[in-house]
């Protein structure tokens, strides 16, 4: 069971504790998006598929989907983002987390990149 932070190619991160995956976006992503002004959060209970857009980040003049790195059911959302979307800019890896998903199948987490691999990946972006 890992508590490492893993990354997707779409710049989401995921930290898995037991069967619960906490999800957010990387520092690189928040920097690219600029000032986040609104976060469209999923609802607790939503069932999401890996690769599916399950939240939306809005900056002043851009909209980006956040893709689910794992399949499962949403069990918690970061309600603080409703009033303070800027948390994603200020603290993308911590206070700016977006949602927690109870994972269907823990095996699929293995497809994600480690922090080191992600850093390598960014060099090529």
């Amino acid at each position: 069971m890992s508590e490492k932070r893993l990354y997707t190619k779409e710049h989401e991160w995921v930290v898995v504790k037991g069967s619960i995956a906490r999800i957010g976006v990387s520092d690189y992503a928040q920097n690219e998006l600029g000032d986040i002004v609104f976060v469209e959060l999923p609802s607790v209970g939503d069932v999401v598929e890996e690769g599916e857009g399950f939240a939306v980040l809005e900056s002043v003049k851009a909209v980006s989907d956040v893709y689910a790195p794992v399949s499962g059911r949403v069990v918690a959302v970061n309600e603080a983002l409703e009033d303070s979307p800027e948390l994603i800019n200020e603290s993308p890896l911590d206070e700016g987390w977006i949602a927690e998903i109870e994972i269907d199948d823990t095996a699929q987490v293995g497809d994600l990149m480690s922090e080191q691999e992600y850093m390598e990946y960014l060099k090529g972006v």
């Binding site: 609104f38 809005e58 003049k61 909209v63």
Partner: protein, 447 residues
């Protein structure tokens, strides 16, 4: 040509700077088979004097309400417009500006829209307004689509008492997205939606129920009965309102409306054969991110000074493309500005006076008409500045004769399936003398 400043010498010089010799060299990318040969089949050129003469001749073929005394309404009204409205709207800085995408040099437009949004919120009681829509009918269509998106439902309940043209526009917009429509039938006695048949409607599937207040016949609908039904079933209440009536009538927010739309023609706009005026669109704070169209918000500049800017733009087509809340881009900004100036100069008391005089004068005409044998009130519900009269006459023919005597009569409702009815509208612009003369002329024609 009058508006083309380049001289032949300049053209040659400019072409030479690019290594070209003639204008046609600029069009070398156009394949020869696509090039149009010959002259466009349009008349002209006319000089300014000739153009004015032509327009005066066209205008002279119309009979206008500066010469006729009008009792026509049904969506477009002959209200008084203070002189300053047109003067200020005509300033080049407003007239010739584009949409305020560069806020630092368009604060004038932006602030005026912010003021407009505030006024619409004050009139309707709603929490947020956009910067305007094309007209009331298309605003209502967009409101229905927004309700569908917000509730994830695909059915809308429309009243049969909605303006027939608005019904057509809404039907076309909704059909295009495969949304179905169910109608609340007309109560022939009251002239409003038939409350006895409400239980037969599919409330549980409806994204929204629409009420027009006052309705097409100028009558007040029982909004409360509809509100409780739609909200109890998880749908939204959409109200289409006449802004002048809101000088006296309870704001839609107090009826718990979720979306409020209307046509702004009566707020300081020319009748102009039906356009341009504008539509307004207001909603609750909860739904603002689903609202179509442009919105102006308050912010500060780098020195902390209050300023205004287009905001919530991620809803719009230039960012969200096919996922936008609507495709609307241009709106009716200058008409909204005219409404803002109109409401500002009328002010709190003046605006109430307009509504009050419309109500009193319409009531006066109605009472005078009912004195004429053969005429009766068409419906029993209370009315505002418009009402239908019943009488078994050829109203189109009567209108022709009224026209010869300088009157623009009401709207015969035969074409809408009510052969004996005619719809009259009276604004504050009509005088007692005009009303009395109209009544006695009509009496003479009928008898």
């Amino acid at each position: 040509m009058r508006y083309l400043p380049l001289t032949e010498d300049e053209k040659r010089e400019m072409l030479a700077s690019m290594g070209l010799e003639q204008i046609d060299d600029l069009f070398q990318d156009i394949p020869p088979e696509a090039v149009f040969q010959g002259d466009l089949d349009v008349p002209g050129p006319l000089s300014e004097a000739e153009l004015i003469r032509h327009f005066k001749a066209l205008a002279a073929k119309n009979q206008d309400t500066t010469k006729l005394v009008s009792f026509l309404g049904a969506g477009v009204y002959d209200h008084l417009v203070p002189s300053i409205v047109k003067r200020i709207v005509g300033r080049g800085e407003f007239l010739t500006a584009y949409t305020p995408y560069q806020p630092e040099i368009t604060q004038g437009v932006l602030q005026s829209i912010f003021e407009y949004q505030t006024m619409i919120c004050e009139l309707t009681g709603m929490e947020a307004s956009n910067a305007s829509m094309y007209d009331g009918a298309s605003a209502l269509a967009e409101a229905c689509l927004m309700a569908c998106a917000a509730t994830k439902r695909e059915l809308v309940i429309l009243p049969a008492t909605l303006h027939p043209q608005w019904q057509e526009v809404v039907r076309l917009y909704l059909e295009s997205q495969d949304v179905s429509i169910v109608y609340m039938p007309l109560d022939e006695q009251t002239g409003t939606a038939d409350l006895n048949q409400l239980s037969e409607l599919p409330w549980g599937e409806a994204a929204c129920a629409v009420v027009q207040q006052p309705n097409f016949f100028g009558l007040l609908e029982n909004v409360t009965a509809l509100e409780s039904r739609i909200h109890a079933n998880g749908g939204l209440l959409v109200m289409a309102v006449d802004p002048i009536s809101l000088s006296l009538l309870k704001p839609p927010a107090e009826f718990k409306a979720d979306i409020v739309v209307g046509d702004g023609q009566s707020l300081g706009q020319a009748m102009g054969f039906g356009g341009p005026a504008f539509g307004f669109f207001a909603t609750t704070e909860k739904l603002i991110r689903r609202m179509p169209g442009r919105v102006v918000g308050e912010t500060v500049d780098a020195e902390g000074k209050r300023a205004f800017v287009l905001t919530l733009q991620t809803r719009e087509q230039h960012i969200r493309r096919e996922k936008a809340t609507s495709n609307i881009c241009s709106n009716q900004a200058l008409n909204a500005l005219a409404a803002t100036i109109y409401l500002a100069v009328l002010g709190k008391q003046g605006f109430r006076d307009v509504g009050y005089q419309c109500l009193q004068k319409a009531h006066y005409l109605k009472q005078r008409l009912l004195e004429i044998p053969g005429l009766s009130a068409a419906f029993s519900a209370p009315s505002f500045r418009e009402f239908a009269i019943r009488g078994a006459f050829d109203w189109a023919e009567i209108n022709r004769r009224l026209l010869d005597r300088g009157f623009l009569g009401g709207l015969p409702l035969a074409r809408f399936g009510h052969p004996d009815l005619i719809l009259f509208s009276v604004t504050e612009a009509r005088t007692k003398q005009e009303i009395d003369a109209f009544v006695s002329t009509l009496r003479g024609l009928i008898q």
